[in-house]
């Protein structure tokens, strides 16, 4: 199975976070989802489906649950989680 790179994932995750957070700029990896991007618990939870659509595009990619998405703190953490799941890792 061909591994997808973190950079490829990062571009897609940043675009999704921008759209779900309803931003007019691209968020940075260090931005905090709640304190900086103003995403409350239910908005973060809703990221589960959006991020899973990225991770499951890869063969063997795994989904992300609502609880996992709600607990994400930063954009960088979100990229790391999707990167792991896209490559079939917990």
């Amino acid at each position: 199975m061909e591994m997808v790179s973190r950079q490829q994932i990062a571009t897609q995750v940043i675009a999704k976070v921008r759209s779900v957070a309803d931003l007019h700029f691209d968020p940075r990896e260090g931005d905090r989802l709640f304190e900086d991007l103003r995403m409350g618990p239910s908005i973060r939870r809703s990221l589960a489906l959006s991020l899973s659509r990225i991770s499951t595009l890869q063969q063997g990619g795994q989904t992300i649950s609502g609880d996992e998405a709600e607990r994400l703190h930063t954009v960088g953490e979100s990229i790391d989680l999707v990167f792991r799941r896209a490559n079939g890792r917990d």
Partner: protein
């Protein structure tokens, strides 16, 4: 609390664990908060308050819900949850003694992209034991909340140093009373409920959102009930305000003040009005 009374909730929780294990891999998410029903909402921390008077008996009040969750059949759309709740106050004037075990499926429909709406339906089945009323009940329930939409549900609004967040929820539950004290009838009560919670974060940027004020109002209406449970009052209102200051940056531990006014039949809380300072935990 007698161990025997926890038998059925424990069996339900164990059944949930086993069913979830069968449904997917072993990647469990543990959660500790005030109640299981506020998943998909502004998460209120579990609270513990202890009073140690110089004369008289010690008293305590606890509100906590513990759960584990897992994606159901590896689907991003559904999460399986198993857990239990305790709402207990051993002061005679504010007696509350409810324990429950629950299994639930939480779903997501749609994505909150831009102004679009993500919907979160939840189906649950709980076994509740109410030590004050002496009843044991089975409670199927359904609820619905949302995120996003043009109403900006779940987004923090306001200037940099004042965050405001709101979250509505509606639902239905049917409390089927399986066992009641000797000489009293069993029966059922069906309730429709609506809840709105508003969280305000003074000094949002400066304090890192560690200070929160959460005001909540829950209205429920008995839409169907057996004659034995007809008290002549169909409407129930619970108003709460919680002020929490989180002691750590990850916001797991807090000291909090709560004001409670009203009744909550779903938690075995009779008409009450009191204030409480408590240690709180949120995971």
């Amino acid at each position: 609390m007698r161990v025997r009374a926890l038998r059925v909730p424990a069996v339900l929780a164990l059944a949930g664990l086993l069913a979830s294990s069968a449904a997917g891999a072993g990647d469990w998410k543990f959660s500790l908060r005030r109640t299981l029903v506020d998943r998909n909402a502004i998460g209120l921390p579990a609270s513990l308050q202890i009073t140690l008077p110089e004369d008289g008996a010690n008293s305590y009040a606890v509100d906590l819900g513990v759960s584990v969750s897992h994606t159901f059949l590896r689907s991003a759309l559904w999460t399986f949850v198993a857990g239990g709740e305790v709402h207990r106050n051993n002061q005679a004037l504010r007696a509350q003694n409810l324990t429950s075990g629950s299994l639930a499926l939480q779903g997501q429909v749609g994505e909150a992209l831009g102004k679009a709406t993500a919907w979160f339906p939840q189906l649950s089945l709980s076994f509740r034991r109410d030590g004050v009323f002496g009843t044991q009940s089975l409670v199927p329930a359904a609820s619905l909340t949302a995120a996003g939409s043009p109403l900006r549900i779940g987004r923090v609004l306001g200037p940099p140093n004042l965050g405001i967040l709101w979250q509505p929820r509606v639902g239905l539950e049917l409390q089927d009373i399986l066992r009641s004290p000797d000489g009293q009838s069993t029966g059922h009560v069906g309730r429709a409920f609506g809840n709105v919670a508003v969280a305000v974060y003074p000094g949002f940027q400066k304090l890192g959102a560690r200070l929160e004020i959460v005001a909540s109002i829950t209205g429920s209406r008995d839409v169907a009930k057996s004659n034995a449970f007809d008290t002549g009052r169909d409407n129930h209102v619970l108003r709460t305000v919680a002020v929490n200051y989180f002691l750590d940056t990850d916001k797991h531990y807090a000291l909090g003040f709560s004001w409670i006014n009203g009744e909550n039949p779903s938690e075995g809380l009779r008409e009450q009005r009191y204030k409480q300072i408590a240690f709180k935990v949120l995971y």
